[in-house]
């Protein structure tokens, strides 16, 4: 069955959660494996087939000189390259180093920082190579992942909504927690895809899918302010899992104090 398309899964700085999403497809995994060759997926298999690969899924952000070189090789070997998750798409939680001196972080964590090789920044994959599609989320949604794999292997556009989380609340029938309860919520500026889980659990969205298409972040920030959210808190809300996404970075910069 050498004519089956070859899938590769690559890891950069990340928690492994997004690639785990593939193994979490308990009902679909064996069926998927019937239609593709899992050619390079170290978390799941010792067997590694040489490239080129039809589809590469890339998890994680670029934080070391070695990884900065490695992503170029991954791109060269990949017909399609799809980033999976907030780290690969917007630098991830570790991009908080971009707002400070990484040396300070190193001193806090490691007794001998001279042993550590790292870049000053955590950057998304698209800052280094051309990316064919970015799948959002911290973590990604496994059904969206199956859709993206299916779409690329059939050379069609993935059916992934660019709407905000608000649309998913409406579809789910969740009463708006911001309007009804004054709970501060990032849903209006956050890309859909999770299924609007947080509001359904009586919690405001915390923006783990990153900015939607053309988000009105300043309007949301004004609403938050009126709900009593402090400037420092606003800054933190935009600076968590997708702090390198330009829209969130820009809005975060407008509020609160530096060095928090």
């Amino acid at each position: 069955m050498t004519d089956k398309p070859k899938l590769a899964v690559w890891k950069f700085a990340s928690c492994d959660g997004c690639q785990l999403s593939l193994l979490d497809c308990e009902d679909e995994l064996l069926a998927v494996a019937d239609h593709i060759t899992i050619a390079n997926f170290p978390e799941a298999s010792r067997a590694v087939l040489d490239g080129p690969y039809d589809l590469s899924l890339v998890e994680g952000s670029i934080t070391t000189p070695h990884d900065r070189d490695r992503i170029q090789e991954v791109r060269r070997q990949s017909k399609f390259l799809v980033t999976i998750g907030a780290c690969a798409t917007a630098g991830g939680i570790q991009a908080l180093r971009n707002f400070t001196d990484v040396r300070e972080f190193m001193d806090i964590v490691y007794a001998s920082p001279e042993y550590i090789s790292t870049l000053d920044t955590s950057t998304p994959i698209s800052a280094h190579v051309n990316v064919d599609f970015e799948l959002r989320g911290c973590p990604i949604n496994k059904n969206q992942l199956l859709e993206v794999i299916n779409a690329f292997l059939n050379e069609r556009k993935p059916n992934v909504s660019p709407n905000s989380v608000c649309i998913e609340c409406k579809k789910r029938g969740t009463v708006c927690i911001m309007v009804a309860h004054g709970t501060h919520c990032m849903g209006p500026v956050t890309q859909a895809g999770c299924g609007a889980i947080c509001p359904a659990y009586n919690r405001g969205c915390y923006g783990c899918y990153g900015p939607m298409e053309t988000p009105n972040t300043s309007s949301l920030a004004a609403w938050m302010h009126d709900l009593g959210v402090s400037a420092d808190e606003l800054r933190r809300m935009f600076r968590t899992y997708n702090s390198e996404a330009p829209e969130f970075r820009h809005e975060g910069d407008r509020h609160g104090r530096e060095n928090i």
Binding site: K11, A13, S14, C15, D16, G17, C18, Q19, L20, D24, E26, D27, L29, L30, A33, I38, F41, P42, E43, A44, S45, R46, A47, G60, T63, T64, G92, I93, Q94, L96, R97, V102, E104, F105, M106, I108, V109, Y110, A111, S112, Y115, I116, T118, C138, P139, K142, C194, I197, C198, A200, Y201, N202, R203, Y206, C208, R236, T240, Y241, N259, I260
Partner: protein
């Protein structure tokens, strides 16, 4: 590569260890048929969590630290939450405490089952992956997937999603389930209990190399429960301390070839063993009779000292977690409030919980406004890293008459005995065997 039976130097290395969570390598050097060096290298890029937590609000720590590991986010959430509650002088009991235990059962089931069926079993049966193994052993792989799904279904109900669930908070949960929602899990859990028992029996049919070790086991011990969220930190060599004294007895050391910190016991700098084997050895008497009987039927005594048999210990813990989840579901009486109010105060809080891979210690110092001033996190794999090297140092000499690729295979298996989570340990692996 050189003659495995002759002299000279042999190097066996694996640049990128497979079927572990994260990026690591192994290096083994043999000179004149004597093992000279073993290194477990972790090149997973560091992400500096303890640094980036400073200045964040105390309520953010559970969700932020969950991002250390996509395989065991609940462990991070639970350790962070309990440490913050400890700092604020709050104790959460009753139904909320039971729900946290149910949530943790879900993670134990899904994480252990992933390791048993998809990462570890292929070693014993000679396949590169579970997908390949499924062609000859479909019933085993399908059983594993079904069990894993049950674990994930618990996590999804309690937490909203399988990975980085959103519902746990300092003080309790954002939303607690109705009795009917938990009851809906009952049929699935009853079926899962049968699958878990079959898994225990199935792991007992695997061939284990003879490799019994005199380990120092460290785990939590609770006065009447098999430990998850609380207990004293104890060992089989006389340690018995409160979690707040952890730093007096353990320390992390930074070695040059790895991005993970090596954790050792003070004052001698000795390695120790955390995880399912340690929990089981130190808490066998806390398991219900039916679980102990299943373990006994699968060839386990009250203490298991062969790390290759950890697959059976994990299967016993899955059986326990399913049984415990059933108990909690059946006894559930919804709490009045989804969370109790927790007000910050300037203090240092400590907690250790039992992640699937072992003891997970968190310590935070916060100020009166709840701002995190200092954070320290010691994941299970940093604690086991030196232990894994120690195992290799004893195990590799028993197989030096084998060819390099066979040594490599069994050495990788010896590493996977620990279900190492490299993402966690880097706050972890790649195999090199150097025969020169």
């Amino acid at each position: 590569m050189s003659d495995p039976h002759g002299g000279g130097t042999r190097t066996i290395k694996v640049d990128y260890l497979a079927r572990v969570e994260g990026e690591g390598a192994m290096y083994i050097k043999v000179r004149d048929n004597v093992l000279e060096d073993v290194k477990l290298k972790i090149f997973e890029p560091p992400r500096f969590f303890e640094g980036l937590l400073r200045g964040r609000d105390f309520t953010e720590a559970p969700d932020i630290t969950a991002r250390i590991c996509g395989i065991c986010p609940i462990a991070y959430q639970m350790s962070a939450i309990h440490a913050m509650e400890n700092a604020c002088g709050v104790r959460v009991d009753g139904a909320l405490r039971e729900l946290r235990r149910l949530f943790y059962c879900g993670e134990w089931i899904s994480s252990h089952t992933l390791h048993i069926h998809m990462l570890h079993a292929p070693d014993f049966l000679g396949y590169p992956s579970a997908v390949e193994m499924a062609k000859d052993h479909p019933e085993a792989v399908e059983r594993g997937l079904a069990l894993k799904k049950t674990g994930n279904d618990i996590v999804s109900l309690m937490g909203g999603r399988e990975i980085h669930p959103v519902n746990a908070r300092v003080g309790g949960f954002y939303r607690v389930p109705a009795r009917s929602e938990l009851s809906a899990l009952r049929e699935e859990l009853l079926h899962a209990r049968e699958l878990a028992l079959e898994t225990v029996k199935w792991t007992a049919t695997l061939d284990f190399p003879e490799f019994n070790q005199d380990y120092t086991f460290v785990a939590l011990r609770h006065e009447d429960e098999y430990p998850m969220n609380e207990g004293r930190v104890v060992s089989n060599k006389g340690l018995d301390i409160d979690v707040s004294d952890y730093d007096d007895h353990f320390e992390e050391q930074h070695v040059d070839y790895t991005n993970a910190l090596h954790c050792v016991m003070k004052p001698d700098g000795n390695c120790y063993h955390v995880g399912p084997m340690a929990r089981y050895a130190l808490n066998f008497d806390r398991l219900p009779d039916e679980i102990r009987n299943a373990a006994k039927a699968a060839g386990l005594g009250p203490v298991c000292t062969n790390p290759f048999q950890s697959i059976t210990v994990r299967a016993v813990e899955v059986l326990y977690a399913v049984t415990e989840a059933l108990r909690i579901v059946d006894d559930y009486d919804p709490p009045q409030q989804s969370a109790i109010d927790v007000r910050p105060k300037a203090a240092t809080g400590f907690a250790a919980t039992e992640a699937p891979r072992g003891l997970l210690y968190h310590r935070y110092t916060i100020d009166d406004d709840g701002v995190i001033k200092d954070a320290n996190i010691v994941p299970p794999t940093s604690q086991n890293q030196k232990m894994i090297e120690d195992d290799l140092r004893r195990f590799v000499p028993t197989c030096l008459d084998k060819a390099d690729d066979e040594i490599q295979y069994v050495s990788e298996q010896a590493i996977r005995n620990y279900d190492p989570c490299i993402s966690c340990a880097t706050h972890f692996l790649k195999l090199e065997v150097d025969r020169g």
